[in-house]
Amino acid sequence: MTTFYAIFIDGMIYASWLFLVAAGLTVIYGVMRILNMAHGSFYAIGAYCAASMVGWYFSDFDGNPYLSYLLLIGCALVAGLVVGVVIEQGLLRFMYKRNELLMIIITYALLLILEDTTKLAFGVDPYFTYQPYALLGRSDIGGLAFANYDLLLVAVSAIIGLGCWLVLNRTHVGKVLRAVIHDREIAVAMGVNVRLMFAGTFIVGTTLGALAGALTAPSISVSPGIGVEVIVLAFAVVVVGGLGSIEGAIVGALLVGMTRSLAVHLAPQIELFVIYGVMSLVLAVRPQGLFGRTLARKI
């Protein structure tokens, strides 16, 4: 029975983390049709900024420890904004006419560049900024202890998911965005400022990536290479759910998270294959992902 609880809660926690990591990726793809390989680098930059600032706050300040959460989120927002603006304005906006596959390669080049840039900026020593993680203590659920920070992450993740959905489906901006998603040319004809929409979307996407990194930073040791590790995971989630769909990312994250949790508890030997297995299975049955749309070509 406890195992059952554990599978569920562990699955939820992992799924919420996966969603955090994948949200920015799917938003950018949905609107801009860019499968952003550099997404992991935004995650890493967010994690590094947050870890270094929070580490500095705790070592050089004696302030209220709870303020560190604000710092954490603040860092992510600033980092995401700066990186997003620089990359969008400095590079991507000149590339929007290029084909979808070439955009993957462009962002692959970005990934290579950002990996080393992060290393130059933050060094290779790990940042171990545990305070925000340890501060919240733990709760006992069904005889098993869970870190409150992780449980809180589930809520944060749900809020972000809901937020994205509401913006897309219940606001004017969302309506315009959906028009852009549906048909870029018609949207332009209708007077939508697509360039502005793209810039905004990209910045929101990078900020979501940085936020995921910042929120993860307190529970890990932030070191080189963390960005590369999350890319493929995020890809898997997004592809399973359907590229560019927020609902898809939520469902994809839940599916991958729960399956992995099941594997860890019941068959740890197959854990390594779970993610790719789920991805291949879903694609084999439903090539466009669970929530993806197929567009029949008009002739």
């Binding site: 290579l112 890809f235 590229l243 790719y276 466009q288 002739i299």
Partner: protein, 314 residues
Amino acid sequence: MIHIDRSMVGLAAATLILAAAGGFVPDWLAFILTLALAKALVVQGVVLQMRAGLVSFGQGLFFCVGGYAVGMGGHFFGINDAPVLLLAGALAAVALAAVLGLLMTRYRDIFFAMLSLALSMILFGVLVKSSELGSTDGFNVHPATFFGLSFKTEAYKTALYLLTVLLAGGGALVLHLVHHSGLGRMWEAIRENEIRVEYLGLSPRWLLYANYLLAAAFAALGGGLTALATGHIDPEMSFWTTSGEFVFIALLGGTSHVAAPMVAAVLFAFVRTYAIEFTPHTWQMILGFVLLGIIVFLPKGLWSLVRSEKRAKA
């Protein structure tokens, strides 16, 4: 029926020059060229797919199959002849591709890229789990013979270099024919407009299936040669970053000529080696800028330099 054109004569000449150079160049250079040309074979396959409009982020799958076939042939089956091992690798890859191709030919664009990535990562997972095959550490490949002849250290490297040059050159010649054949041009037609190809009475899936199998065979050959050259194989061959490198080189060269992947692979090897040497901490960044530069300034790859020159003259 087969018309011998300037490219073919040029390729044959270049192959002979490279082969002859084997006697003069220092060992380390011969080794870099061996690895680069082996890689070029894999990239030929990636280019083959790109000409049909598909980008694979999982060509490492067949590269790895070729490498492991060579390693396992020596370790478990007592086969030690390089040509036999390479052939076995290519056959194994084609057999695997024949199965996977049934699935893969249903996909295009990003879905093809992602599914190919997933499949190669599954092989990676299987190999990591196989402790008999050394898990992530992999294992060393037995020195091979060449058509029954065995060579000592120096001569061995030269023999391998020659074999690689001949396979890379011969492979390029064959592909040159393929690219200009009815089938080869039909792949381009699919990239341009699949629906039209269907309405010309052909099956795009069948055409792409042939493409997938051929690309797999080339990747396996490259993998086998790489395994023989480095004397070691590990699951990294199937990791997605390895496949990413192949795509990188393919873009570097461009898809317009079969010589492009070879030039690009050699150039890539040098850029990387010197980047690692002069800036050991930021070599990836240099590769990143090179890639961006190519995309921005030479969208059709390095070979477009040659092409545009030719057009200007004409």
